[in-house]
């Protein structure tokens, strides 16, 4: 299952929007660790702070307080200029709305990340094709997102998240826009990635199916972890 040493640690992280009487506490003093090969599912009602926590863990959002440590490196102290490199190196993202580029074909969407990661030119196309093959879309590489089903789009998003081989995958409601069967397939794919490729996976979800395949589930309510 998972390596014991956490690759990602969130220590006492909090996020407050606004100031004074108008301030809203989105995340309140949460401590979490995530190890390689582990699937952590974060559950909770809408507006509970799940996505904010995921954004903090993914170095997209600066916490108002607390620390994020990735691979023993303290992230909270890094400047805005240094964060893109951290995101590029450590994270693969899967979004609820897929967030594929409509002007790019499936393979080009995957290539985009490889290009961002400065992969040697000769390797970009074969690597992207291999990733699409891995998620079962080897025959749909030249299709534009508008010509793909919801499940296929999410598979392309998975292939894109895997491009560049990041150790951590963050998925925000990956099954929300999919039917039950496709949602299950997508979750199985995530589990396969975690186990086979030893990835640390965080899934934010309302979906009870996600709970079923998680190694660990945490519940969040009003920005706090529920014990």
């Amino acid at each position: 299952m998972s390596d014991m040493a956490p690759i990602l640690k969130a220590i006492e992280v909090g996020k407050v929007y606004g100031e004074g009487d108008n301030s809203i506490v989105a995340v309140d003093s949460i401590t979490l660790g995530l190890s390689k090969g582990e699937i952590l599912v974060i559950m909770g009602p809408s507006g509970s702070g799940k996505t904010t926590l995921l954004s903090i863990m993914g170095c997209i959002l600066h916490p108002t307080r607390g620390e994020v440590i990735i691979d023993n490196r303290r992230i909270s102290g890094l400047s805005e200029d240094e964060l893109p490199d951290i995101r590029k190196k450590y994270f693969g993202f899967v979004f609820q709305a897929f967030n594929l580029f409509p002007s790019l074909t499936a393979i080009e969407n995957v290539e985009l990340v490889l290009r961002l990661k400065k992969t040697p030119k000769a390797l970009i196309r074969p690597k992207a094709a291999e990733l699409l093959e891995k998620v079962g879309l080897g025959r749909r590489t030249v299709f534009y997102p508008s010509d793909l089903s919801g499940g296929e789009k999410q598979r392309v998003a998975f292939a894109r998240a895997l491009a560049g081989d990041p150790p951590i995958l963050l998925a925000d409601e990956p099954t929300a826009n999919l039917d039950s069967k496709t949602g299950m397939e997508v979750l199985r794919l995530l589990r396969e990635m975690a186990e086979k490729d030893n990835k640390a996976v965080v899934i934010v979800s309302h979906d009870p199916k996600a709970e079923a395949l998680a190694h660990r589930v945490v519940f969040i309510e009003d920005g706090r972890l529920r014990s």
Binding site: I60, L61, D85, F95, S103, V113, R160
Partner: protein
């Protein structure tokens, strides 16, 4: 990032066409206005530029080449007396009425030059020689005025202020700012048109060539001391004075400038609007790029590449359009100055306008919160 910029740009052809239309409109309007303005200024200063003289002497307060006033021609001796002067010659600029074969008459600008020296003669001849005007009532007319005057046949006889002149040659490319046809003739013949209203011993310009052009200022000061009733200008200053007169004092330059500026503003607004709308529509994609590890500078590259590519394509098409229309415009009597340097300068102006119009998009990107990518 150029790769992504190109893919996105050509994927949305409708928006690309609108952007290109804005740039083409801007290019055509600006290029046409500026080249027309420069063409007009070229016409206004053509004779000054083509005479190989360093110094121009004219009556006091002459504002531009076309509106010359007479002064005593014997003053040329004062100019010739300056040791640094290699040669000095007189030039008459006056006006007359040419009777047309089809009936009616046309006001013409008459330039009287010395046919022995050729100073002030037309610079391009397509028929005959400037010296052909020597020894009688001969004249040279310019092909550009054929449309207004009728067919110009060498040897044909024309009546100018009721005096018959034979067409001895045809020049090319001599236009006046006022659009009045230009006629060249010998100095002595031109004198008769001027002396109809002033004394016989008058001229309108004296031009002089210096041994050392570096001494122009010094020579002008020396001449000014002995010719207090004249304005003495270097060639460069007379060109400048003529250009400034037509540009500033008549407001013509301002008209051209405002139209050219309007072209740039409208074009820039269209580009800015489409680029901004495009950015707003693709905010999620830009946010995704940020989440995937792209820096703001990478996203700026996408926007600026798209704007740059659009500017190059739009400017090229717009320029081609103006070049295709050129002969038609010039046939209508409007001179266009389309020097390669003008294209280079305007390209950079159009490109800068396009980049400037992308400012709001760049500002939006800079402040874009990548958290937006998690919103459904």
């Amino acid at each position: 990032m150029l790769w992504l910029a190109l893919k996105t740009l050509f994927h949305e052809r409708g928006r690309l066409i609108i952007t290109l239309t804005g740039i083409i409109f801007s290019t055509v309007l600006t290029l046409a206005q500026v080249s027309m303005y420069l063409g007009k200024m070229g016409n206004a200063t053509g004779v000054i530029r083509h005479i190989d003289a360093d110094i121009w002497i004219m009556s006091k307060n002459v504002q531009n080449f076309d509106f010359a006033n007479p002064f005593p021609e014997e003053r040329i001796s004062k100019v010739r007396a300056i040791p640094d002067v290699v040669w000095a010659d007189r030039l008459i600029l006056t006006w007359g009425f040419l009777k047309l074969a089809a009936g009616g008459q046309e006001q013409v600008q008459i330039i009287g030059f010395n046919p022995d020296t050729g100073v002030g003669a037309p610079w391009t001849m397509i028929s005959g020689q400037p010296s052909d005007v020597k020894g009688g009532r001969y004249m040279i007319m310019d092909r550009t005025s054929e449309k207004r005057l009728g067919q110009l046949l060498p040897g044909s006889v024309w009546e100018l202020n009721q005096v018959q002149f034979k067409l001895a040659g045809i020049s090319e490319g001599t236009r006046s700012f006022t659009t009045a046809p230009v006629i060249f003739m010998g100095y002595n013949q031109a004198h008769r048109f001027m002396t109809a209203i002033v004394r016989e011993d008058q001229t309108t310009y004296i031009v002089a060539k210096l041994r050392d052009p570096a001494k122009t200022g010094e020579t002008i000061r020396a001449l000014q001391a002995v010719m207090k009733d004249n304005d003495i200008l270097s060639k460069r200053d007379f060109i400048k004075k003529t250009v400034l007169y037509w540009t500033v004092q008549t407001g013509i330059g301002m008209g051209f400038f405002l139209t050219a500026l309007l072209g740039l503003i409208v074009g820039g607004a269209i580009v800015g609007q489409t680029v901004y709308a495009n950015t707003m529509e693709h905010l999620r994609e830009f946010g995704t790029l940020k989440a995937l590890g792209a820096r703001n500078s990478d996203l700026y590259k996408v926007i600026f590449s798209q704007v740059g590519i659009s500017a190059v394509a739009g400017f090229s098409v717009g320029s081609l359009f103006v070049l295709l229309l050129r002969s038609g415009i010039e046939k209508a009597g409007v001179a266009l100055y389309l020097h390669p340097l003008l294209f280079v300068a305007l390209f950079f102006i159009v490109l800068s306008t396009c980049f400037l119009s992308a400012y709001f998009s760049v500002r939006k990107i800079r402040t874009l919160d990548p958290v937006t990518v998690f919103r459904a």
